[in-house]
Every structure is written in C-alpha cells, then in structure tokens.
Amino acid sequence: MGCSQEGEVEAKKEEKIKLGREKASIASYCAAAVSEEHDSLAPSFARVPLGMVFATQIRFWGSQAAPEQSTSDGLTVDGILASNWTILDENEGDWKSHATAVAQSIHLIKRRLQWRKLIVRLNMLSAELNKPDLWDDPVHAGKISREHGSLQGKMKEVNALEQELLEHIDMIKLAREENDEDLESESVKALLNMRRNSKEKELEALLAGEQDLYSCYIEVQAGAGGTESMDWAAMVMQMYKSWAQRRGYKVTVVEEMPGEIAGIKRATIKVDGDYAFGYAKAEVGVHRLVRISPFDSNKRRHTSFAAVAVTPILGDASAHVQINESDLRIERFRSGGPGGQHANTTESAVRIVHIPTGITATCQNERSQHQNKASAMAVLQSRLDQLEMARQAHLNAQHTQSLTDITWGSQIRSYVLHPYRMVKDLRTNYEVSDPDSVLEGDLDGFILSYLSACLDKDEDGA
C-alpha cells in the first residue's frame, strides 16, 4: 500500500532536489570563483566540494572564507537558535522544535570541536601544505597532511549536518506552499531522525582530540602512606580494569609491583580498543580515599592517595619518536646468583631505561624475556612519544591541552567511605552517593561530565 505512495513522494523529492542542485551548482561555481581570489589565505576551502548546497547566499568571513549556509529564504543555523523556538518533546511533531534541537546540537558540537580554533588551524595547515618544499621532510609532511585530513573531515561533517538541517526546512516550507502533506510529514520525520542521531554526534565530538581514538596504558601508583595507600592503589587499578571490561576493551596487565603486605606499589595495564585514550585521559590525576582503614587495629579514619597516569599508544608508526639502541640500558628486573644454566626460573622481567630522559619501562607478565622486552619497549615508546607531544604542545600554543599533560597532575577526585558515602569529582563537582558502584567501574558519568565541562566551558570555541 504505502509502497507506491512512498515512491511518489520520493519522486517528487528527487525532482525538487534536482532543482536545488542546479541552483547549487551555480552557487558553488560562484564560491569557487570567489575563493580563487582568497586562495593564498584559504586554499583548502576552494577544494571543499560544496556538493548539493541548497543555499543561494554565501558570505565570506575575511580570510576564513567559511560559507555560511542558509535556506532559500535566508534562515541560518544561528538564525534558528536566535528564534528561540520552544523545544518540545520528540513525540510532538513540531518541525521548529526538532530544528531547534538539531541546531543546538550543532552549536554544541562546534563548541566541542573548538570551531574557531579549528578553522584557524586548518588554514595554517593548508598554507603549510602548499609550500613547495613540504615533502623535503616526509615525516613532517605526513603529519601535516594527516592532521589536515582529519580536521577537514570534521569540518565537512559539521557542514553536512548544517546543510541537511537547512534542506529539510526548505523542503518543509516548499511542501507547505504546495500543500504536499506527504512530503511535509516525510521531511519532519527526517528532521526527527536527525534530532535523535545528533545526540550521538555530540558525544563523538567530545572525543575529537588527535589521540583520542587510540588505545592507551593506564598506570596507577600508590601515594605515601604504606600499606593503606597500596591497598587503595590496587582498588583504583581494579576500578579501571572493570571499567575497561564493561566498555568492551581488552585489558592486559603489563607490570605489577605488589606491596609487601597488601595492594600494589605500582601497576600498568594496557587498554585496547577505540577511544580508550579519549575516555581514560579524563582520569589523569590524584585520587583520594577516606575510610576506616582495615589495616588499622584502632579503627581510625585514614586518607590515602593514588596517582593515575594515562598514555596513548600511537597507532601510526611514523609518528613515533626515534629511539637509539645505544641510549638504552636493559636490565633484568630481579637477578642474583650466577644465572645462565645454574638457574631455572620463569621470571624474565625486563626493565628498560632510556638514559637521556631517565624514563623507564618495565614488563614482567609475558612468558619470555624477549616478549617482556618487546612489551617494555612499547611502553617506553609511548612514554617518549607522549613526552615529545607535550614538548611540541608547548611550542605550539594553539594545541596546548592540559589533558595530555604527562605529569601526574593534581587531585581530581575524592572517594569518601566514612563518615558518609560519596564520590565527588573536584573538577566538575559531579558526585555520586554510591562509592561501590564507582569502584566497580561505573565511571562513565564522571568521565563524560568532565570531558563536556572541559570543552563546553570554552566560550570562544564555537
């Protein structure tokens, strides 16, 4: 039944899109012609295919040259926001409400992507890419073109969202003019779909950092305070293991240094999976615990600390810092005795020291020394990469983001088990009254609230 009807609607839509496309091709021709003049400043935008732009009005912002899209009657995304239309429940079929919700999402996404900075950076990268001697340094060139590609991808995605939103609105207006109810309801439905999907896109925009996609190492170290702190460090490590498993990440223990009586002095796990670093980076800092210590026979209240560091594992080998074999000192972790044929041991832990930086890495959980060495090298590589990124971030003020700071950072969260029960993030004031669930790995609330607070507070971002 609905089949032929739908077909009809589709056909009408096609026709109208075709009409629009003709308009668009003129528009993009103009855009290309105009931006040709601005080429030296914004060469990248001339290459962005405008595709099926419905818009007829394209403005240029000085050197930015970002075309602001609008509907046929001049409504822009910002215009929608400024109209202050009421946002109703999803079930209310009001298109203005849907459109406003989507426009708000787009606004948020732009803010999270630090839109203005992104445009400036993109322009800079484009200029760099156009330098004739760029490929004299292929490593640098590769880096630039990768970053350019990734930023441009993000930009295109947002532009496409805006375009889609405006297209639907145009279509609805057109349908009303022609009293085409099928087309109208079809378009409202499409808008509703957009509204639903945009929530997911908002979340994705939280993880738009250059290294967010990568796997990572999480390292936990006990603070001062002996057994009590070591026990706390073990609890924190367990919390991350559970969190990672809940998210479906693969967890491998790389290194674990047990405390004499209980807990751990230090441990490192590898968390494998998409966006592991993007999420886990929100956990960098000192975690504080207040409780009646099970190790204190007088049942006194104790405060202990554990520090958490997170290191991304760069997926791209060419981005790695070069390590000279001669800069390394490789040691057996636990030795003693004459070794060789004298000893039968399954202990083949290896520690690698990078002499120029003093950075060390240890692995003890593999079954052969060779594999322990390989794993420790991978950890060392990531740490050196991170150090290098931090160094470059300082050089490149544009990209400074405290999130990737290599230092252990300051206190970020308090876990109180006594006299009351609460976990509170000191950065966002996000709090939960059930510490057990948090210690069992229910961390997403903390992580997402931190990530959004971090990016959304940045007023000049959008």
Binding site: R332, G340, Q341, T345, T346, S368
Partner: protein
Amino acid sequence: MKLSLGSLYRPSRFPLLLKSYPISRSRRSFCVSSLSSPETSLKPQIPLFLRPPIYSTTLSDLRKWHDWAESLASSVGSTFEKSDNGPDSSLLCRELKWLLEDAVEDHTLVSQMGVENDRRVRMRAHVDELYNLWKQRIQERRPFQYVVGCEHWRDLVLSVQEGVLIPRPETERIVDFVSDVVSKDQELKRGVWADLGTGSGALGIGISRILGSEGRVIATDLSRVAIAVASYNVHRYGLKDIIEIREGSWFEPLKGLEGKLAGLVSNPPYIPSKDISGLQAEVGRHEPRVALDGGVDGMDALLHLCDGAALMLKPGGFFAFETNGEQHCRALVDYMENNKSGSFCNFEIIPDFAGIERFVTGFHGKAI
C-alpha cells in the same frame, strides 16, 4: 644435550643419563603420568597447550583445584628462595596462572571461576592430572616448563621434556647477535650455520628465522631425546627446509664442512663439576646433567668448541658461545689469542641483562 667426551647414549628406564649420576635422587615416579612418553619410542611429548581439549570439568571443581594449588604455592613462602635461590610464592602463583591458561581451552572462562557455578569448561588435561602436576611442581620441584611441556623463548613456544635442557632467557641474546651480524653481511646470511648441542632446538630455530629462506642451519645433538624434541619443534615452526637436525657429538656430524661454516653458535655445558651438587633443585634434580656439567673448570666443551671453530669456520665466519661468566669469557679469549693466534679476531665479551659477562663472540681471521 651435549657431550664432548664421546660417551655413549645409554638407553635407560628414564630418558637420559641421569641414571649414571648419583645426584639423581628421585626415581621420578611422576613420569608415569600421561605427560611422559615411553622412552623406547622416543616420540616427543605434546606440550599441554597443544593437546586436544577432550576433558571437561565444572568451573567450581576447577576453582577447588586452583584454591588448593594456590595455598600450596603460598605455603612455600621464600623457603625455596632461601635454600637454593628457587622460586618464591609470587612466582609460583604466576606459574599457576600460566598452567591454567595452558590447560583450559577458553581462557575467558577462567575469570568467571570466582562465581561458584556448574558451567563446564573444556580442558586439555583431566583435573586429577592437574593435582598431580602441581604436586610435582611444589613437592618434587619439577621445573614448570617440564610440567606444561613447553618454554616460551623469544617469540617461540618450544616443546621441552625431561632429558632436554630448558632454554634459558640469557641464551635469547645469541640470536640478537646473529641478527646484528647478518644484517651487516649478506654473505653470512646466505651461508651455512651450525648450532652445536642444540637441545630443544632453540638456538637453531631462532637463527633459522633470522636467516630466512636463503639460510641453512645444521643443529646437532648427542641425545636421541634432544633429537626427537628439536625435530618436533622444527616441524612445528615449518622450518624443515632451512634447518637440519643431525645426531652426534659436537663437530662429528659436520664432517666435510671444514672451512665452510658461515657461523657457529653454542650454549654448551659450562658449570664446573663441583658446583653441580649445589644447584637449584629444579636444575640439579631434573635437568640432564650432560647438558650442564662442563668438567672440572666448566671449560671442557668450550675449549673443544674453540678448537673446532678454528677448523670449521670459513674466513670471516662468526661465532658466539655462552659461558659461565666473567672468568670463562676471559679465559676463552686468552685461549683463542694465545693458542689459536691469528685464527680469530674482533673478540667481544658481552654481558647478559643481569650484567654478568656471559657471551664471547668473534670472527674467524681472514688468514688461516
């Protein structure tokens, strides 16, 4: 297994020559467990992790075994460590984890062991055998690698069994040396290499994988058990076309290759005879003495290898030997400089990762 003195392999009730040494205290009744093969056929044993998962048990029974095994490991504390530098509880617990990994078909189920349930898991060994194996590990100090029938060495998992020396982590380095040398000299890469006293085949296999399809390796051993195990390992890594296992003492199986070898490596027995009785129980009671005992000063085999190397290596050929430590390294270099003057050059003494001077490497001089 290696032997320089030409003594014959005597078939005994248990593999290898332990019988002829008073030091072998245990009659090793555990050998009747399914982990041992009949010594007459010399069919190599299949490592636990490669056996078919034809057994099954409930998670709760597995857990019972695990709890029992863990408490047995904990009861050891540091007593082994204090008595002969053996493993402490924490090491034993790690071994227990690995034993479980090798024995259970689906590792992911192991983490659910904490929950008491009747879910069945498929196993590569019967639970009763696991009790037996762990008792052997703790009470008889049977090396973990013999218990699971394999040793992880470099990126390889090598089958091992009683009668074959368990390859040591230190020895992994020799493969690195070869890798360095052949990366600088393509001609050496295409030549014939020898691993003398190959045991499980570790060095021979490690080197074969460095040389690649152009290379050729001959690995020799005196022991028929070693020959069987090394052949099995070579087969498992699909290296039959590159590496050839030959039975015989040191250079005997290399007749006709005088002056033709591109490289020679060996980890020969180097422990001085007087030290054998004080060895860590896992080594002294269970590993083949013939692969450990290097004579009065531990240098018998090493000197024999030096003599042979001068004859067998081609000009520019490379050698690397593992030794007992600093004293051996110095003595060996002295011997080669004084007694074989002109034969060898570019000696290097290289420490292992524990900082003990462990290896002597060098090249055959151009002029013979």
